[in-house]
């Protein structure tokens, strides 16, 4: 039996936990909504505009870096399985070294152009 059957069961159990907890809340918790209660919280002041605000695009640079490096890092896991084999071990070390080395150029590039500095 695959272990993932248990994982699927755990997901179901987790969702059931959420549903059951919300059911318990529905039974036990009071509900008396008022206009003021349902207003967006802005430190006690009446909310200004809508929920959206222009955010720093700077965050996006880190997201790019992560995505690129994450797809890079997932290849490390297959590597872990072959690195001990006699025929592929040394070769794979070089291969992965080149692979990561090339990407590191990207990180160094980003660092040198000051993209990692938070101005």
């Amino acid at each position: 039996m695959s272990p993932y059957v248990v994982v699927a069961a755990v997901v179901v159990v987790g969702l059931l936990l959420f549903v059951a907890a919300m059911g318990a809340r529905r039974l036990l918790a009071p509900s008396a909504p008022t206009r003021a209660k349902l207003t967006t919280y802005e430190s006690g002041v009446d909310p200004v505009g809508q929920g959206w605000a222009q955010t720093q695009v700077r965050y996006f640079v880190y997201a790019f870096l992560y995505v690129i490096f994450a797809v890079d890092a997932v290849y490390l896991f297959p590597w872990a399985l072959v690195v001990r084999s006699s025929d592929l071990g040394a070769a794979s070390l070089v291969e992965i070294g080149v692979f990561i080395g090339v990407l590191l150029v990207g990180l160094v590039h980003a660092a040198r152009r000051g993209l990692l500095r938070w101005v």
Partner: protein, 99 residues
Amino acid sequence: MIHLAGPYLLAAVLAGLGTYGVLARRNAVLVLIGVELVLNAATLLLVAVGASAGDRWAAGNVLTLFVITIAAAEVCVALAVVLAVFRLRGDVDLSEPRS
């Protein structure tokens, strides 16, 4: 035992949905979502073929990994472009060319 009709059918459906998504959306980011669906249809086919015996060089799985990698790279560049467009124009609408 598993019948490959399931994966094939799902791949076809996902490809169709992706096509619809690409054509029916005006927001650039949502068009990208359609593209992702099409890509997933392709990888699903690859994996389904890989699940049958006689998959030489583990091609089905390895190619899927490659496609996922390339998709990630594609999404990065595409979203960078979208963001640059938004900064310059204030929206990401594809159907309204503006001065």
